[in-house]
Symmetry: C2
Subunit: 115 residues, 2 copies
DNA sequence: AATATTAATTACCTTAAGGTAAGTGTCTTA
DNA sequence: TAAGACACTTACCTTAAGGTAATTAATATT
């Protein structure tokens, strides 16, 4: 057994698995990142309409968390009615391939898993 | 914007992102998979000791879910006291690289993120 | 005047995740 | 005879995630 890997996974306070899942393991974060990865730039209501089933509250909460982690950038246009645009940061872009790999793994294997 | 990808991500009832996160997006699943990926075969109490902070209850719940999704295999030895060994299935093995990529992304980026 | 628009915010509620602590069965060992 | 090992199971409780619905500010449109 590889002690190095074990130490990395299990170092309780500094566990990368925990850190990453605590941030994007919620119901909506990954979806928003993938969406912005494809769409480049989207306004609040555009994301809201695309996802369809997300509540306004959870969309703002999700966007704020992603912004706090520097995964998305938020650009406010000082006009009325308000206009706010979102797009991925460099860090968000760097996460994208990992998520897309997960998606394609899911497409390959999820069908066979019974509900 | 790529309509194909969007349709894949957003198809509410059949969304691969949701499917995969619903199954391994919980607090312990990924950790257990990574552990079994390194250790090959582990008994219940070995996993319990390695992770340290997981409760017995959550370990059994986690293992049962992973087994139901055919991500880990459970081998019972009919002896007393009981002996049960766990290891990754082929499907679990196929997920492993994706998770390791996520871990290494986390190692590269999580330090910079403030708590 | 009244209504629509946009991106939130707030109060309230429900559900689910996960923790603690105790108990189970069967055998072995001190 | 009592305790220990092992892999759970059960009852109970707390916390957090996420949902609904109403409200906001400032302006343009009808």
């Amino acid at each position: 057994m590889n002690k190095n890997n074990l130490e990395i996974y299990l170092d309780a306070d500094n566990c990368p698995v925990r850190n990453v899942l605590d941030r994007i393991g919620d119901k909506w974060s990954v979806l928003v990142i993938l969406l912005l990865g494809d769409a480049d730039t989207l306004r609040f209501n555009e994301i809201h309409k695309y996802i369809g089933t997300i509540s306004q509250k959870m969309l703002t909460v999700t966007l704020k968390k992603l912004e706090a982690d520097d995964l998305i950038h938020r650009e406010v246009y000082p006009q009325i009615p308000p206009k706010v645009e979102y797009n991925l940061t460099e860090r968000g872009q760097s996460l994208l391939p990992n998520l897309k790999n997960l998606v394609s793994w899911a497409n390959d294997h999820m069908m066979e898993m019974k509900k």
